[in-house]
């Protein structure tokens, strides 16, 4: 029976993933900022087979509360076998361009809050000598694009941070999994027009669990994004800068 901590637990991708973990009879602790949704998820996960479920509600940008939050999780679960970090916001690029405050706020939500959590979690898992740190980044982190570089650069920071952590923690029996979804149909992307490249959160959730079960380092979800991003990364900068992406 795995002990699972889910941060950003009300994200559609996190919900799908936690349901799969509930079916496996996991013990779970949820962190998010929408208390009523967390309560609804708790009941849902218990019905689906979770062994026990606890939650705490907090704004993850209040980084000073992260320590307290992790203590609560450990008090409830006893240990941490799997940690999934899933919160994020799809930044309004144009609004960010007009506001330093907004830009830094987005960087905080999508990068700094995660860095704060990872700093604490890395030490916990390192001491424990086991566990999985699974973090949802994005294909957007692979290369900054004009239409989306505030979000993209935040995810790029998370990627680099995770790569460093993996390098450090792989020697300590800790798996660090970087999850890079492409387009996913969730509340975050409700406003965007959907096409054939879009996946649903259940598909992503299955990929996340497979990545965890197989001890992977980096997963692109669905898999074809690895090749799409390979091409995008390959385009020379002098060409790339002229494209409207």
């Amino acid at each position: 029976m795995k002990k699972v901590l889910i941060i950003g637990a009300t994200s559609a991708i996190a919900i799908s993933t936690s349901r799969l973990l509930a079916v496996r009879g996991s013990q779970m602790f949820l962190v998010g900022r929408n208390e009523v949704s967390l309560r609804a998820s708790k009941d849902d996960l218990l019905v689906r087979g979770a062994d026990k479920v606890g939650y705490v509600s907090m704004d993850l940008n209040e980084t000073q509360r992260h320590g307290e939050c992790l203590n609560e999780a450990i008090a409830f679960l006893g240990a941490l076998d799997i940690v999934l970090i899933a919160h994020g916001t799809l930044s309004d690029q144009q609004a960010c361009e007009a506001s330093v405050e907004l830009t830094l706020g987005e960087i905080k939500t999508n990068a700094l809050s995660t860095v704060s959590l990872l700093t604490l979690l890395a030490n916990l898992l390192e001491n424990q000598g086991s566990g999985v740190l699974a973090v949802i980044s994005s294909v957007a982190g692979d290369r900054g694009r004009g239409s989306n570089y505030v979000y993209g650069s935040a995810k790029a920071m998370v990627d680099a941070f995770l790569s460093g952590l993996r390098n450090r923690l792989s020697k300590k029996g800790v798996q660090v999994l970087t999850i890079k979804p492409g387009f996913v149909d969730t509340p975050m992307t409700a406003e965007l027009a959907k096409g054939i490249l879009w996946a649903d959160p259940d598909t992503i959730a299955k990929g996340i669990l497979l990545g965890i079960d197989k001890g992977r380092n980096i997963v692109y979800l669905p898999f074809f994004w690895r090749y799409i991003m390979l091409i995008i990364k390959f385009v020379p900068e002098f060409v790339f800068k002229r494209l409207s992406l």
Binding site: T10, A12, N34, P187
Partner: protein, 434 residues
């Protein structure tokens, strides 16, 4: 995003706004004069559409709330799909009380259309098994409805086509099973009389029955088909799903793949595929209840113009004659679908005011949408139906006149009275001639 919110028949095509509710404590948008809950779009016509208005997508309202596995009492949010419920409850020895021919419908949609299944003759409609639900009105009021609380809203919402408010969660009774397998028998029969004889005989001993009909057969072969009957098996495991894999029709082909030639070929092959007059076997419930679900997006085969389903029910006394007339008209038209369905419904009353089924026989089949020909045929069929005092199923309808609707559903006035003033649908405006 107008494309995403289509009905199953992909007809009519409408422009509408959409929003998603993300938790069950949220209220509906204030000051929106025309909204309609959207389940999973498995209704065929325009009853799940709201042209120039708003559809309120319920897909994220998909949490279980509680499940009493000793009593088989389930409470869940209204956007949960029946497929997800089956995954939870089948391994624990429970099954849906009533299921339509696809498991990809939501609980809210199942209540709003008061769906029926192959066991109508013994179990009635889905609404017969609903114990309680919460109804959210556009003014923020939340009504807990049951046979003893807000009784009028309870009755008006079951089969209420989503017009009385949004069902937020519902509680309903499941049925016990000891196996996920079905003992089934498929009998090849060759005339309409035989269908009625088989039904009368089967409905005493079999919980489930229906027939696939060859809608291209004429004359003495009219109404021939395969009669399917079955019961939940007593032995075998409790497996939630049978197959992990499914196919999907990836794109809408430029023209309909259904035409008079493919129809005749398919129907004949389908009819002849079984050599023996009767085949008994035991199979997983999925192949018994949801033979079409493994091809996802099957609705695309009708091409860009989409299709319409014609589903009617004819009262018992007039059943045989009227169904014969209807099948004759269809077979002569050369139109129709790969699979037409016939089923005898029982006399169990639904609590719903505008429930479709009634004691008699229901026939359902799809038609490619080539406007004038389809419309002309439907006119002929409607006349037969009116003479036989039958009615059409709003969940499948895109054509019935307001006059016909009002005469078939005499309780419409009461539903009108309890309708949420800010709710509406394309279907409702059509039949109310607004």
């Amino acid at each position: 995003m107008t494309k995403k919110y289509q009905s199953w028949g992909m007809y009519p095509k409408v422009e509408q706004d959409d929003i998603c509710l993300t938790d069950r404590y949220q209220n509906l948008p204030a000051d929106c004069p025309s909204m309609l809950p959207f389940g999973n779009g498995r209704s065929y016509g325009d009853s799940c559409l709201n042209a120039d208005g708003l559809v309120v997508d319920t897909r994220y309202l998909n949490n279980f709330i509680s499940f009493d596995s000793a009593l088989g009492l389930l409470r869940c949010e209204a956007g949960l799909l029946l497929s997800e419920i089956l995954e939870l409850v089948v391994p624990q020895g429970w099954f849906l009380p009533v299921t339509p021919g696809t498991k990809y419908v939501t609980v809210g949609g199942a209540i709003a259309n008061d769906v029926h299944g192959k066991n109508h003759h013994v179990a009635g409609t889905f609404g017969c098994h609903v114990k309680r639900f919460e109804l959210l009105r556009s003014d923020g009021e939340r009504l807990c409805c049951s046979p003893t609380e807000h009784v009028d809203f309870f009755a008006a919402t079951i089969g209420g086509l989503g017009l009385t408010g949004m069902i937020v969660w519902a509680e309903f009774q499941l049925q016990r099973i000891t196996s996920s397998d079905m003992d089934m028998e498929c009998i090849k029969y060759d005339s309409l009389e035989d269908f009625f004889l088989l039904s009368a005989e089967s409905d005493l001993d079999y919980e489930y029955s229906m027939a696939w009909v060859d809608c291209t057969a004429k004359g003495s072969k009219l109404g021939r088909g395969h009669f399917l009957r079955g019961n939940h098996a007593n032995t075998g495991g409790l497996q939630a799903t049978e197959q992990a894999f499914s196919l999907s029709v990836p794109v809408v082909p430029p023209v309909s793949l259904v035409n008079s030639l493919t129809l005749r070929v398919f129907n004949t092959l389908y009819y002849e595929r079984q050599r023996q007059s009767s085949v008994k076997n035991t199979s997983h419930y999925e192949s018994f209840f949801y033979p079409l679900d493994w091809v996802l997006r099957m609705n695309r085969i009708y091409g860009p113009n989409g299709f319409q389903q014609y589903q009617c029910v004819i009262p018992r006394q007039q059943s045989e004659d009227a169904i014969r007339e209807i099948l004759t008209a269809i077979s002569f038209s050369g139109m129709g679908s790969f699979l037409a369905v016939l089923k005898v419904c029982g006399d169990i009353d639904s609590p719903g005011l505008m429930s479709f089924p009634k004691c008699g026989t229901t026939l359902a089949l799809d038609f490619s949408n080539n406007s004038s020909k389809t419309a002309a045929l439907f006119k002929v069929l409607d006349e037969i139906l009116i003479a036989a005092e039958g009615r059409l199923y709003p969940a499948k309808d895109a054509h019935m006149s307001g006059e016909l609707f009002k005469s078939c559903y005499p309780n419409w006035g009461e539903v009108c009275r309890l309708k949420d003033p800010n709710f509406s649908s394309s279907f409702w405006r059509r039949v109310m001639q607004e």
